[in-house]
């Protein structure tokens, strides 16, 4: 009897699964119609280019997700309203909530990758390291670019091994290198770094540890001492770490924080009397949300950014004029327009749309496949003039992406908290990318070997 009950269960289960499968089958077929043919048969005749958004507006990281995707959507809205799309091709998008959870992000990817009402997918922008890692293989197989602006695998900078992954604008290695260059500048030149002491206070996670080898390498090169101090997640208690810092008395502290760890670090620094203007926050320690909870203790705190806060950039005035005043803004709280995460979304929008625009010069002013948009990403060349046209001088760094180099930027600006806003205190400070490249290539070729991938011949492709 038990045996028959088990087979009963099995048949119920399979019937239920089958039913759900049929349902999604028909839905997907209706939604994606042309999807299977896109990859093989060139541009699809239609009017729209689709951006699937694996957004997160609830859960612990909602502040980041709502700001970033709000900015991204507002920029696409601007292009649609002001220019009527990209050369007549309207942009369209839809959201799928991931809550920053990897498997929800994967489900969203699988759900949205077929396109929307016949509009083909241009690229995916999950803004989550976990989701990005989990969809690298899938997106490479499906030929859909994966944009991981300011985050993601460092070695995916090597486009020869990761043809569809773009850690645009800044990878973690460039980040630490640019910070060291800035400290050198402040000390009166890199040769003055010798004998100095730098402490890295890092979040106890793979993200926090990622730059350790690079910091060691730079320490050896310039002769400064580096000490890595771990703060276990979530970082609400840091007394012992700061006691260690007090004994060490470093000249500078680099904060590789995340979430609540940042304001706690700043407050504890003030408590032990460490000058807060000698703490440099990294790319995930630079938002208004990181300093406001620390109150007056945070005044003078320095952080790096690739997307300075503020509404004084021409592109934001345009967004204000065409989108926000028309009541079409995406932000639930309009006051957050111009904050760090929002401006990162604007930058991300500029880069994605630029890729579509560039790809159109080769493939025509029609909706493009992911493979074609990938070509566009690999030929992005935003110089000073182009930045002026885009209205993003100072907001976005000059970026030139190539087949080999999927990062394209590698520079950061330094900003300082004055109690109400982040003041920009430097122009773009570049990383020592020539030094980092061999390390990135070591890692990417190891990955290629492990996965049995062949390495692209970029020069050969360029001749075609």
């Amino acid at each position: 009897m038990l045996r028959s009950r088990v087979s009963t269960y099995a048949s119920i289960l399979s019937a239920a699964l089958l039913a759900s499968a049929c349902r999604s089958n028909s839905e997907n077929a209706a939604a994606s119609g042309a999807a299977p043919t896109i990859a093989s048969s060139g541009p699809v005749v239609g009017k729209e280019q689709y951006f699937p958004l694996q957004s997160y507006r609830v859960g612990p990281y909602a502040a980041g997700g709502s700001g970033f995707f709000g900015g991204f959507i507002d920029y696409m809205q601007l292009v649609n309203i002001r220019d009527g799309g990209v050369n007549g091709v309207k942009l369209t998008w839809s959201e799928c909530e991931t809550e920053y959870v990897v498997e929800r992000g994967v489900e969203c990817y699988e759900r949205l990758k077929g396109g929307l009402n016949g509009a083909p997918v241009a690229a995916m922008n999950p803004l989550s390291v976990g989701i990005a890692y989990a969809t690298i293989d899938r997106q490479t197989a499906d030929k859909i670019p994966l944009i991981t602006i300011n985050h993601g695998r460092t070695d995916s900078t090597d486009g020869r091994v990761f043809p569809y992954v773009f850690p645009l604008s800044l990878n973690p290695y460039s980040e630490i290198s640019a910070i060291i260059n800035y400290i050198g500048e402040r000390e009166g030149g890199l040769d003055h770094l010798s004998g100095k002491k730098i402490a890295v206070l890092y979040h106890g996670s793979p993200y926090g540890k990622e730059t350790q080898p690079i910091a060691e390498l730079l320490a050896k090169k310039y002769g400064f001492g580096v000490t890595h101090i771990e703060v276990p997640h979530p970082g609400t208690e840091q007394e012992s770490q700061w006691l260690q810092i007090k004994r060490l008395a470093p000249n500078w502290i680099i904060l590789r924080g995340w979430g609540i760890m940042n304001p706690v670090a700043i407050k504890t620094a003030a408590k032990i009397g460490f000058p807060v203007d000698h703490i440099i926050g990294n790319i995930w320690s630079n938002s208004e949300e990181d300093v406001i909870p620390a109150g007056p203790a945070a005044v003078g705190y320095i952080a790096i950014t690739t997307h300075p806060s503020g509404r004084d950039f021409p592109v934001l005035s345009e967004v204000d004029k065409y989108v926000l005043s028309a009541g079409k803004g995406n932000m639930a709280d309009p006051k957050r327009v111009g904050t760090g995460y929002y401006n990162l979304g604007i930058n991300n929008g500029i880069l994605n749309i630029e890729a579509v625009r560039v790809a159109q010069t080769k493939f025509g002013n029609v909706p493009l496949t992911g493979e074609q948009v990938r070509w566009g990403f690999e030929h992005i060349n935003i110089d000073g003039n182009r930045l002026k046209e885009l209205g993003a001088v100072g907001l976005l760094q000059p970026i030139k992406v190539t087949c080999q180099d999927h990062e394209g930027g590698g520079a950061v600006r330094f900003v300082q908290w004055d109690g109400t806003q982040f003041k920009r205190i430097s122009d773009w400070v570049k990383a020592d990318r020539a030094l980092l490249r061999p390390i990135i290539e070591d890692s990417s070729t190891k990955y290629a070997k492990e996965k049995g991938l062949s390495i692209r011949d970029c020069d050969g492709e360029a001749k075609l």
Binding site: M1, L2, R3, S4, V6, S7, T8, Y9, A10, S11, I12, L13, S14, A16, L17, L18, S20, A21, S24, N25, N28, R57, V58, A62, S66, S94, E95, C96, E97, E99, V102, E103, R104, V106, E107, Y109, E110, R111, G114, V129, G130, Y133, A134, I136, D137, R138, R153, T154, S205, P206, K209, E210, P232, H233, A332, S443, Y447, E450, K451, G452
Partner: protein, 377 residues
């Protein structure tokens, strides 16, 4: 006829069936009506045919459904169901509260990765078995406190496993082969020369790992070991008095349950995500596995499958329904929060109405259908 009569008492030994009188009665009264197979066909043949049909259906699913269903629904359901079975050995059968299942999944995933990256040429399935074995040993170790403590105190000690494993894999680079970010990446999947890198391949791999382990698990809980687990769960002192070796039973529950969790973790990392990081299998995942077991049915082998399907499908279904019904007109964040409220409310409702889990609910529904059909005929 008589054979059926003798089979019935086994029903009461089945832990999935709560000793609720009304349900038992309805089953008994419907018992004759349930049989839809003509007398001339031996039941064994009918049963065998049903199993063959279901198996053929499961194996041929990749030809019938889209890649979306395979890689975003079926593979994670199979992996989580396997973890649920492991958790059920520990919690549902042996009655030991544990919130360490994600830690054991993590150990399984990393051990499988280490086996395949450090021992070149090791077949994929062998490295899965190795991953499960290592997870089993670790589970056995963290099960040791169960010899002395019970209930909430045991929860705390399994919680330690959760934090320890995440810390260890973050701290010690060897486990992730010194990957800079601590994230491991699955190698190319192939078994005996067959390339399994397509979504269908991932599904087949999961199916051919999960199906035999499910059958094994079912036999295990019906055998001597399963009965001693249930004896320990129902009353440990009495079990000891009648000669059940309670310490051995509890440790084996942790060991075997963790083996299942370990293999599930390897499937999760290799067949589903293609990657895993230490924080990807954290306390939240342990709770998810626990919910799968509680929702699906404590002390049942089918329960984890139903529970896993529910946990994976329900948020997706709500999300789709929400965007179809009010898409665009309501703030996306608000919609998500409403979905969470509905999910929570439904779970509470379900637990009140059917504490024995959804597998039981489905079983009752099936019995009612069975009772209803012949009357029409």
């Amino acid at each position: 006829m008589s054979s059926e009569m003798t089979v019935w008492p086994s029903q009461s030994r089945d832990p999935a069936a709560p000793a609720s009188a009304p349900v038992g009665k309805s089953e008994n009264s419907s018992h004759h009506a349930r049989i839809r197979v003509p007398r001339s066909v031996p039941r064994a043949v009918a049963r065998g045919a049903a199993i063959v049909v279901v198996a053929a259906l499961l194996v041929s699913l990749p030809l019938l459904v889209t890649d979306y269903v395979l890689s975003a629904i079926l593979v994670p359901v199979l992996a989580l169901a396997l973890a649920g079975i492991g958790q059920n050995f520990i919690t549902g059968y042996a009655g030991q509260l544990s919130v360490g299942s994600a830690a054991f999944m993590s150990v399984g995933a990393f051990a499988t990765y280490d086996a395949s990256s450090h021992l070149h040429g090791l077949p994929l399935l062998a490295s899965f078995a190795f991953g499960g074995f290592v997870a089993g040993v670790v589970g056995l170790f963290f099960g040791l406190p169960s010899l002395r403590i019970r209930g909430f105190y045991l929860v705390v000690s399994t919680l330690a496993a959760q934090f320890f494993v995440v810390w260890l894999f973050t701290k010690v680079g060897w486990f992730s082969d010194y990957s800079a970010s601590g994230v491991i990446t699955a190698p190319k999947l192939s078994v005996a020369g067959f390339d399994l890198s397509s979504p269908g391949g991932h599904y087949w791999l999961s199916l051919f790992v999960v199906a035999p382990l499910t059958v094994l698990g079912r036999n295990l809980v019906r055998g001597r070991l399963g009965r001693s687990w249930m004896a320990v769960r129902d009353m440990e002192t009495a079990a000891a008095v009648v000669g059940v070796r309670t310490e051995q039973a509890k440790l084996l529950a942790f060991g075997i349950g963790s083996f299942y969790c370990g293999v599930a973790g390897a499937l999760w990392a290799f067949a589903y995500l293609g990657t895993v990081e230490p924080h990807g299998l954290d306390l939240d995942r342990s709770f998810q596995v626990l919910f799968i077991v509680i929702l699906g049915g404590l002390g049942s082998i089918a329960g984890p499958f139903v529970g896993a399907a529910f946990v994976i499908l329900f948020p997706v279904a709500l999300d789709r329904l929400g965007s179809v019904l009010v898409g665009g007109s309501v703030d996306a964040g608000l919609l998500q929060n409403v979905e969470k409220i509905i999910f929570g409310a439904l779970v509470i409702l379900l637990l009140i109405k059917q504490p024995a889990g959804m597998a039981r609910l489905l079983q009752i529904a099936w019995l009612r259908i069975g009772r209803w059909r012949p009357r029409q005929a």
